[in-house]
Symmetry: C2
Subunit: 207 residues, 2 copies
DNA sequence: GAACCATGTCAACGAGTGATTACTTGGCGA
DNA sequence: TCGCCAAGTAATCACTCGTTGACATGGTTC
């Protein structure tokens, strides 16, 4: 279904090759176009429902080039994972107010326009391959660890650890609920809508 | 892969036929065994990675019987969905303390032993078929609506609605995080571990 | 015991998938 | 201009999946 465009239609715009005159043989641009298409598909559909033919079609590129640049579907998935930006930016907020503020922005509708959905969803998709899945788990645990650190919880404080993880779970849940059910008003909530409740939650969990 | 057991090995124990002497031709038991195996697979692996051959093998039943009893994979999925028990029991708790109490039990590790994972996960799996997915969405929205009612929010109060939905998101997030990442200590948290933090969250969101 | 039908078995199909190979083409350096 | 190699193409293979129809068999009814 959707829009198959195996024809040479010039909508490989995603490539990002700067010059106006688009070249035809550009390995870097091809690779990038594939990556972007792959991230989009993997995030929206998950690993299994994403077919390499569709990714190649989205990127306006021949199927066999996926093997050339990423070797396999698994390789493509790994590369897509690796390109996922760090959540909550480079530095984590260091106090509760800033944390709530950051969360309300990161979790608002329409954040991550270049991803369509919240990139954390990429980390939830089961690939079926244990090597890939462990990579996935590792990334999500790293994320949690940073939230823990930001919350000021020591490694030894089990209760505070649990509370920080509940905050992570809330973020994951928001992204999941929004992507799978159009639950309103949460689905379209802006950062202004979220900041109040999130501040309350952060305070009650980590206060 | 896995354990194919097309032979007549007597591990159709799941069937639940009461008498000790297991009968060989028992439509109801066969149907139930298929349902149970299907729920398990769908919940752990999602719709796509669940193959009918594996479900049939788990149930110790011939593949073609799925068509007989459920007509198609979609039919099997629908039946599995329909059998999902209502979350939070028959009556919703009507005050915040009771709600926190109920949530801590429903979301504790090892609840739902007959499902393995929290059944809400079944509602998050995309099937790819729009008719099935709308069923799925409907079920999850019904669930949210009941939480809203329990929270005492009126339909007109958008902020309270949002706050109740955040509570739903938290529950979903806990189930998802636990199923996809073994995040500790959340992964093994008991209802005793959860009750404190959850009480705080419920109060801060709906208080 | 015979007829009959629900239950269960078997083997195969067609579609779609990831993977792979042999081939063609474009563009750059000498 | 001419090789040469990276970039891109087309075709196909091997395999798994859901689905299907023809067939076997048990057990109930008369």
């Amino acid at each position: 279904m959707a829009t198959r465009k195996t024809d040479g239609s010039p909508d490989d715009a995603a490539a990002g090759q700067p010059a106006g005159g688009r070249r035809r043989r550009d390995a870097a641009a091809t690779r990038e176009a594939l990556l972007q298409a792959a991230r989009d598909r993997f995030m929206r559909l998950g690993y299994d429902r994403t077919t390499l033919r569709d990714v190649a079609a989205d990127a306006g590129v021949n199927l066999a080039l996926i093997k050339r640049y990423f070797d396999s579907k698994e390789g493509l998935f790994k590369a897509a994972l690796a390109g996922t930006p760090r959540f909550l930016g480079g530095e984590f907020p260091q106090d509760r107010a800033a944390l709530a503020e950051a969360l309300s922005h990161q979790l608002s509708a329409g954040a991550w326009p270049e991803f369509g959905e919240h990139p954390v969803l990429l980390l939830l998709r089961v690939s079926g391959d244990e090597r890939v899945d462990s990579l996935r788990r590792q990334a999500l645990q790293d994320f949690s660890r940073r939230v823990l650190e930001a919350s000021g919880a020591g490694r030894d404080d089990d209760e505070r650890l649990l509370r920080a993880e509940l905050l992570v779970a809330l973020g994951v849940g928001i992204a999941v609920v929004r992507s799978t059910v159009g639950l309103q008003p949460l689905g379209d909530a802006t950062s202004d809508d979220l900041i109040g409740p999130l501040r309350d939650v952060v305070d009650s969990l980590l206060g």
